[in-house]
């Protein structure tokens, strides 16, 4: 394959006649606009997510709002914060619970159970102040729905890292080896079957993979390895690996096919075996593509929501063991975003998690870009 150098705009003018056809110029303009829109959209998404997370970053939640709320509203005001009851003849319980369990005494004549909540209302408004400090966010407990909300993201970071690590540890070698097989060792007909089938696997809905892991993989692994927890980072990692393998396979296979055949022929001519040629000559030559494939796989494992939501157990634990359940960023956002009240601290924190995800993916891709360019240049010059 020859290197095709794209002429620069100035060079182009000299030997390519600019088209006079109106139709083609309109099409060219449209394509430019669409490409520009795609880039702008990405920036807009980032801007929107950042805007929702901004109150958090600006410390709007760092002072507790309790001072304001208890000053402004008296107790009688807060007692009025009950919805109107449509059928007050329905009461919670006629039986009086013993003292130790329920300190409040149910008055049978006061038939509205919201009296219980009246006593608790005071506690609730006091605790509703959002104590978001840096210490809270960097803490190790994630309990956002609580009288004292805790937004520690450390367990989420550790959880995401664990599942991604397992997914790549299992998925990347499998994908790369499968691509090696398909590119160099498989007979042509088998290759024609394998490649489309693995690419179909890429289109598999992640919900189905998550469900499959939840029902079967968890129990199978528990029987095999004797895990304490049936749903843990390992099970989640396997589900993610199923999602990652097709990506790594496809891109690695394309990269391997793009390496000039002359390299393979030369290596075989020098007396290397098929495996030596594939593994020691062709794979390093395709290294930039393989690296890009793995990084894309990491990006996919990082952002995958449904598999993590169903198969990891969603426990915000700080632990190094792979056999413990974890809670990932995307699963947290997916599970909790539906309930948050817009504008609250919890809402901002979830968007902040989205910003973090975006930053990590962006950094990964940027590193891929820069790293690949450097490597590619070295490879081409070094031969």
């Amino acid at each position: 394959m020859e290197q095709v150098t794209t002429p620069s705009p100035e060079q182009r003018h000299s030997f390519v006649r600019k088209t006079n056809n109106i139709g083609e110029r309109i099409i060219e303009r449209c394509v430019k606009i669409i490409g520009g829109v795609a880039v702008v959209l990405i920036f807009l998404i980032l801007l929107f997510v950042l805007r929702e997370a901004l109150p958090l970053l600006m410390g709007a939640f760092s002072q507790s709002r309790t001072a304001q709320s208890t000053a402004q509203s008296s107790l009688s005001d807060t007692l009025n914060l009950k919805p109107e009851v449509y059928n007050p003849d329905v009461i919670l319980s006629e039986h009086q619970a013993p003292e130790e369990f329920a300190p409040e005494v149910y008055n049978p004549d006061v038939s509205v159970p919201t009296t219980i909540h009246a006593e608790k209302i005071n506690n609730e408004t006091e605790a509703e102040g959002d104590h978001i400090t840096l210490a809270n966010i960097l803490g190790t407990v994630w309990q956002p729905v609580s009288t004292m909300p805790k937004f520690g993201i450390m367990p989420l970071i550790i959880g995401t890292a664990k599942t991604t690590f397992v997914a790549i540890f299992i998925g990347a070698p499998l994908g790369i080896l499968a691509a090696l097989y398909a590119a160099f060792f498989a007979p042509r007909r088998l290759r024609e079957i394998i490649k489309p089938m693995v690419e179909i696997l890429a289109g598999f809905p992640s919900v189905v993979i998550g469900f499959f892991c939840l029902l079967y993989v968890g129990s199978a692994l528990q029987n095999l390895f004797g895990f304490d927890f049936r749903l843990n980072a390992f099970v989640g990692g396997i589900g993610l690996a199923i999602a990652v393998i097709p990506i790594v396979f496809t891109i690695t296979e394309d990269a391997l096919s793009a390496v000039p055949k002359s390299l393979l022929e030369a290596s075989l001519a020098m007396g290397a075996t098929q495996w030596e040629s594939a593994y020691k000559v062709m794979l390093p030559a395709a290294f930039p593509g393989v690296f890009a494939a793995v990084l894309l796989g990491i990006g996919r494992a990082f952002g995958e929501t449904m598999i993590a939501l169903m198969a990891t157990g969603n426990a915000a634990m700080v632990s190094a063991s792979i056999g413990d359940p974890v809670r990932t960023f995307s699963a947290t956002i997916g599970a909790e975003m539906g309930e948050v009240i817009w504008g609250s601290a919890h809402y901002s924190i979830l968007f902040f998690l989205g910003v973090l995800l975006f930053i990590v993916s962006f950094t990964l891709n940027a590193v891929t870009e820069l790293f690949i360019k450097e490597r590619l240049a070295k490879k081409l010059q070094g031969g």
Binding site: Y86, P98, I341
Partner: protein, 288 residues
């Protein structure tokens, strides 16, 4: 030959395009002003609400849209205006009532539609059967970590809970955990069905959920304290208040109902609506 194929293809494409337009126009027409009633909220109640919409005598006059997502999701949707009725397995918090009042100048309307008990689920092979509320609390806050402390096998207790957008989660946290935090190793499952499935597969698991979901697991007999009677979540015990963890299930609205909405709600709390409740596994609000 090529020209003929091309012409055929062009005609087919144009006919298909025309059909698409006609079809979409027609389908937009065939629901002449049927009012849409959206009911969003509790996952615990979603099957019950679906059954109500199916058994509603005037259901041909209205189009129902029923979704789950959790009580918190439903209340948020009510505040944000994306649902007409919100189903919730917990009462509204003062902060939520405040938001409704700010937006709609009304405290919201609460309709008590059914009664439910929360069962603490154990695996059927677990020798433990009786638990006090205090023990359940200490298990879920992480103080008790081994089944042998409760008279069972020597095995680590595996905790399952609902996600924090669930009314069941909030109710359990408030009334059983007395507002303390869950232990960090508690696994959060999406929906009571997933939770029950997990407890059924794990011999050392403990979970909680509405009594209607007990399949493949056994409910523990709960007592207020050591000296009280251990009570299984049966209908008479819950209705009489002997079972410690019972609650009401609610519909919330942002305004007083009128028209078809009022008809639906009145039917739900009437005897015929409450008869449906028993079929689904919950309990009626009162004895009719």
């Amino acid at each position: 030959m090529n020209q003929q194929i091309n012409r055929f293809r062009n005609i087919t494409l144009r006919v298909l395009l025309g059909c698409t337009f006609i079809f979409s126009y027609a389908s937009a027409q065939d629901n002449p002003r049927k009012p849409v009633l959206t009911i969003k909220g509790s996952d615990t109640m979603v099957i019950l609400v679906q059954r109500w919409t199916e058994m509603f005598p005037d259901k041909s006059k209205v189009q129902f849209q029923v979704t789950g997502g959790g009580s918190g999701t439903g209340i948020s949707a009510l505040i944000n205006g994306t649902t007409d009725i919100c189903s919730s397995s917990r009462p509204m918090k003062p902060s939520e009532v405040k938001q409704i009042r700010e937006k709609y100048k009304y405290n919201g309307l609460e309709v008590r539609v059914a009664r439910d008990g929360i069962a603490v689920y154990l695996n059927v092979n677990n020798p433990v059967q009786n638990l006090t509320i205090g023990q359940v609390k200490r298990v879920y806050t992480g103080e008790i970590v081994n089944w042998k402390e409760l008279g069972g096998n020597d095995a680590k207790i595996v905790l399952y809970s609902r996600e924090n957008n669930s009314g069941t989660y909030e109710f359990f946290k408030e009334h059983v955990l007395q507002k303390q935090d869950f232990a960090s190793q508690t696994q959060h499952m999406v929906g009571t069905g997933a939770l029950v499935n997990a407890v059924a597969k794990d011999p050392n698991a403990i979970g909680f959920g509405g009594i209607a979901y007990a399949s493949g697991v056994k409910p523990a007999a709960l007592a207020f304290n050591e000296s009280s009677r251990y009570v299984l979540p049966k209908e008479e015990e819950i209705l009489s208040g002997n079972y410690p963890v019972s609650r009401l299930l609610y519909f919330y609205l942002k305004e007083r109902p009128s028209g078809l909405t009022k008809e639906f709600i009145d039917w739900v709390i009437s005897k015929s609506g409450q008869d449906v409740v028993n079929e689904v596994g919950y309990l009626p609000t009162k004895k009719f």
